[in-house]
């Protein structure tokens, strides 16, 4: 028996290794030092990770499409961009936690450690080149996420954590079963070879390799069925993870039950990573596979309706944001329906803007709430006269979430609509437009209340404005405005059709 060595190459792993180092240091180093130092160290590690992705650390990953471990890890441009989004969201979470974690009673090094482990998982998904690595990343992320949601020693957070855990593990199980089926249909875990085999399954005449031909024939009658079943199972599994209706039930509870700085993390970074997985699988490996498009479009339709309608009736701002996250899942998922060269850049752009604006909103809730239940919408009346900067920032981000130009959310929505529209899902875009109107209304109410003069005493936490949160908010708002005025800043990187062909392993 001979063993072939996997091609070991640590360069594409560098972004993850930095984060992992941070996680390990938070795990073991925190017994000797204060949490605040650990957190700053972690932020530094995240920055290093980001720099490693952009290639400013003496070597470049950008445009090099490095792979390692027999294609298990791929640092192509897609991975780098999504990794960048993840890093930005994570830095925001950590900064906010500096201010608010002690109020939420989660200010201990394990918080940082879990966060960093989750980020490692997220990056692993983004950098995955085959289903196994993706699965490992997904599980690291989810498991750390469950712990994060439960970390606060309160009934609310523990119950939400349990709910998250139970539904999340069901989702994982379905996903894994789907992966097994996909493997059964194609005989490979690698995205690129799956994409190749999918073509063969669909069209057996194209089989070139004799050995593959034998295998394809051996499984041929069942292959297509198994493939479709696998794709749909994976789709449902991911629907749990990204909270597509009707698999979204955990989302509002978890996002509103967990401490707000954790909700920030869960609703941005985790979601970005889950979408990265979907992007990799559905726009990469399964881009030619049948059936999943038509199921996904219905899921999106339900998500748009349910998410927006439910958010409309919320009176708690944090819970509103939770449902808004569900609604945005619908918009985000619309990008997946399109051809990768069109939907991919749209998704990447939308993910970044979504992370920024959602991050800011949660950051401000975290800073201003009196307890972890969040703010009531009524509590926000007159916020502009007490915390003008936060109110303006919040208004900007809410407008952006609603999709109003000139903020970045507009272009995100525009791109998503365009992607779906130009690929034959016009009815879905009309539905999305109509549900967007509902979303505008529920974003508008808190946004406008903030500017209405108010004589009653303040109902938010008075000392919420602190430098790290300010930095987060400034980063987010600046990003939202800049990306809105000059979308090319980010979009031009993503728009190159070449990188989206590589996603499915075509043209290697």
């Amino acid at each position: 028996m001979t063993y072939t060595l996997p091609d070991v190459n640590f360069q594409p792993l560098m972004p993850m290794l930095f984060v992992l180092l941070g996680a390990i240091v938070s795990t073991i180093g925190a017994f000797n030092t204060k949490r605040i130092y650990v957190t700053w160290f972690n932020i530094a590690m995240l920055v290093c990770s980001g720099l490693a992705m952009t290639g400013l650390l003496g070597y470049g990953l950008w445009n090099r499409d490095l792979t390692a471990f027999s294609g298990g890890v791929r640092a192509d441009n897609v991975a780098l961009m999504i990794g960048g989004v993840i890093v930005i969201g994570s830095i925001m979470s950590l900064l906010v936690s500096l201010d608010t974690a002690w109020r939420a009673r989660v200010s201990f090094p394990e918080f940082d450690a879990m966060l960093m482990y989750a980020i490692v998982g997220c990056l692993l998904i983004a950098f995955s080149g085959d289903l196994i690595v993706m699965l490992i990343g997904l599980e690291i992320m989810s498991l750390a996420g469950y712990v994060l949601a439960t970390l606060q020693d309160s009934r609310r957070s523990e119950e939400s954590g349990l709910k998250y855990f139970l539904l999340g593990s069901v989702g994982s199980a379905i996903l894994i079963y789907g992966i097994a089926f996909l493997y059964g249909a194609t005989g490979s875990f690698n995205y690129a070879s799956i994409a190749g085999r999918v073509a063969e399954v669909l069209n057996p005449a194209t089989v070139t390799d004799a050995a593959n031909a034998a295998n394809a024939v051996a499984l041929a009658p069942n292959n297509l069925g198994i493939l479709v079943a696998g794709a749909l199972l994976i789709l449902s599994g991911f629907a749990f993870k990204v909270a597509l209706a009707p698999f979204h039930q955990w989302t509002p509870d978890v996002y509103s039950g967990a401490p707000t700085s954790i909700s920030l993390f869960l609703s941005t970074v985790i979601k970005v990573a889950a979408f990265a997985g979907m992007l990799r699988i559905f726009n990469g490996a399964l881009v030619d596979a049948p059936a999943w498009h038509s199921v996904l479009q219905w899921l999106i339709a339900i998500t748009l309706i349910v998410g927006n309608m439910a958010a409309y009736f919320q009176t708690n701002f944090k819970r509103l944001m939770a449902y808004s996250a569900v609604a945005h899942t619908g918009f985000l998922a619309m990008c997946l329906l399109a051809q990768p060269s069109m939907g991919g850049p749209a998704l990447v752009y939308y993910l970044l803007t979504y992370t920024l604006m959602s991050g800011v909103v949660f950051a401000i809730i975290a800073a201003l709430q009196r307890n972890e239940r969040g703010l009531n919408i009524g509590d926000m009346r007159g916020l502009f006269y007490r915390h003008p900067a936060y109110a303006v920032a919040l208004a900007v981000c809410l407008a952006s979430l609603a999709g109003l130009p000139p903020f970045a959310g507009f272009f995100g929505k525009y791109l998503a609509f365009q992607a779906a529209f130009q690929n034959g899902y016009q009815w879905l875009t009309v539905l999305a437009a109509i549900t967007s109107v509902i979303s505008l209304v529920y974003y508008l109410r808190p946004a406008m209340l903030m500017f209405m003069p108010d004589r009653t005493p303040a109902r938010e936490y008075q000392y919420g404005q602190r430098p790290p949160t300010n930095a987060t908010v400034a980063l987010g708002v600046l990003g939202v405005i800049l990306l809105g005025l000059i979308p090319s800043l980010w979009y031009n990187f993503a728009a190159n059709p070449q990188i989206w062909r590589l996603l499915a392993g075509i043209g290697q």
Partner: protein
């Protein structure tokens, strides 16, 4: 020699049982055990397909899935125990604090 189809069918049955368990059981532990059943169904399917393709990677995947299941057990039990110690119930319906 039992065919691949039979194994896959068996794994399908296991998976369905797990899914039914998830949907009908109200105790967190039982839901959790059903999830484990689903994971094992996936393992069975993976092994069966690995044999059909004559490929070792599928079996490696089983190893990883087993690890994931173990990690899930560890964390899931921790959460359940934490709640149990506070509330003395693991019934999902009793968690009325948070309604979807």
């Amino acid at each position: 020699m039992v065919g691949t189809g039979a194994y896959v069918a068996l794994s399908g049955v296991l998976f369905a049982l797990g899914l039914i368990g998830v949907l009908t059981r109200r105790t967190a532990i039982m839901v959790f055990l059903s999830v484990e059943l689903m994971l094992n169904a996936a393992n069975l399917a993976l092994v069966a397909f690995a044999r059909a393709w004559g490929d070792l990677v599928g079996q490696t995947a089983v190893f990883i899935v087993m690890t994931l299941a173990a990690a899930e057990v560890a964390i899931g039990l921790a959460i359940i125990v934490a709640i149990f110690r506070k509330r003395e119930t693991t019934n999902v319906d009793d968690l009325a604090q948070l309604k979807g």
